[in-house]
Amino acid sequence: MFSNFDFDVIIRALPYLFYEGMSFTLMLTALSALGGLVFGTAIALMRLSGYKTLGRIAGLYVDFMRSLPLVLVIFWFYFLVPYIGQWLTGAARPISVGAFASSLITFIMFEAAYFSEIMRAGIQSISRGQPAAASALGLTYAQTMRYVVLPQAFRNMLPVLITQTIVLFQDTSLVYVLSITDFLGAASKVAQRDGRLVEMYLFAAIVYFTISCIASFGVRRLQARIAIIR
């Protein structure tokens, strides 16, 4: 089965796979998770704000994003972002934004919908007495959220947020459809150049598997630790 297995191809491709590919994947994952968390929290606050219209807009956005396949959303933003850029800057032609910016915007906007639901659950898990106590202390709404509610919500939801980030890490491989050189993109470019599909795809699978496994093991430990404190 492995008689004509060429490990040398993998070893030769390692620098390309990790410097070009994996650094793109990790950078995209980290920045999208951060951006998604910020936007997602804003959307969650909109939904819980008590202003009907604001809440409805946020709800529509979340439902809309969650009903579409990520691949379609990636295509949408890939073609849409240049026009938005043109509209924002008033340029004469659609602006070319490059692969990284386009995929980053896509993932932030897409993940914001998922992170917002997590943060909404987190905020709703805080007992009513907390904001009541905060307003009794004379804190404004913004201060209550910033110093009392959000830190606790974030902390309660940390394991779920990390789990979602692991899903995001795996989902970034879908930028393959734009021929971007992320980790899988790099692997598949080497695979096609050298005609070594089996080696490269197996190696990519093992790397994704190992990283996700370690991360989810970490989440389980974190969950146990948080559970003890409460």
Partner: protein, 243 residues
């Protein structure tokens, strides 16, 4: 915006000679639904088996279930499809690999089976949680009635557990349908794939993707409504959702 809008494009003939562009998108929708439903059946069957295994007292069964779930959950779906599509035929004995490669509709079968296995891990975890949420007494009562383990699952535990986890299963079903879009990478011309090729032929980017988006929203609405009815129909009397 200097984009040339043309909403009439859907009624113009497509370059494949298979009718209009709209026909192209609708054939993609049909393929999306076919792939999604087949994948969902596979996910339900394997997910149920693995989910039950994880609740059995047997250590070996639990370990197998754990490995199954971790294997299918910790790899991107795209990578899994590549493994089934490109790698598996090469690792099989030569004749079997050749047979697999020459299979008609290979992308369809690969996508349905690959997505089915991928989703089975999620179904398994949910079913495990559903069975775990049942009061201990249910299992004991089944044993006290003289039911074997298989009968206990068949007549007592599974009917309850499946009815409890119906709402999350709905969203997993929707995820299965959405995940069929990943099969574009192995050449399956489902809805997203057809929208993409329509865009390449006609250059009407936004019309093509808008139509695909609306069709996905329509599918979502239909599934959610149908499941609402099913949920009401199978609600367990005495539970919060029940009558």
């Amino acid at each position: 915006m200097n984009y040339h809008w043309n909403w009439g494009i859907f009624f113009e003939p497509n370059p494949m000679g298979t009718g209009t562009y709209l026909d192209m998108l609708l054939s993609g929708l049909v393929l999306t639904l076919k792939t999604g439903v087949l994948a969902w059946i596979i996910a339900l069957i394997f997910g149920s088996i693995v989910g039950v295994m994880r609740t059995l007292p047997s250590k070996a069964a639990g370990w197998f279930g754990f490995c199954w779930v971790e294997f299918f959950r910790n790899m991107p779906l795209l990578v899994q499809l590549f493994l089934w599509f490109f790698v598996l035929p090469e690792l099989l004995p030569k004749s079997a690999g050749l047979w697999l490669k020459q299979l008609p509709n290979a992308p369809f079968w690969t996508a349905a089976i690959g997505i089915g296995f991928f989703m089975s891990a999620r179904v398994a975890v949910q079913l495990q949680a559903g069975i775990g949420s049942l009061p201990r007494g249910q299992k004991m009562a089944a044993t006290a009635l003289g039911l074997t383990t298989i009968q206990g699952y068949r007549y007592v535990l599974l009917p309850m557990a499946f009815r409890i986890i119906l709402p999350p299963l709905t969203s997993e079903f929707l995820n299965t349908i959405k995940n069929t879009a990943v099969a574009i990478t192995i050449g399956l011309l489902e809805l997203t794939g057809q929208a993409r090729s329509m865009q390449e032929f006609s250059f009407q980017v936004f019309e093509a993707f808008t139509a695909a988006t609306l069709l996905y929203l329509l599918v979502n609405a239909v599934v959610v409504t149908a499941m609402r009815f099913l949920e009401r129909y199978v609600a367990i009397p005495g539970y919060i959702t029940g009558k």
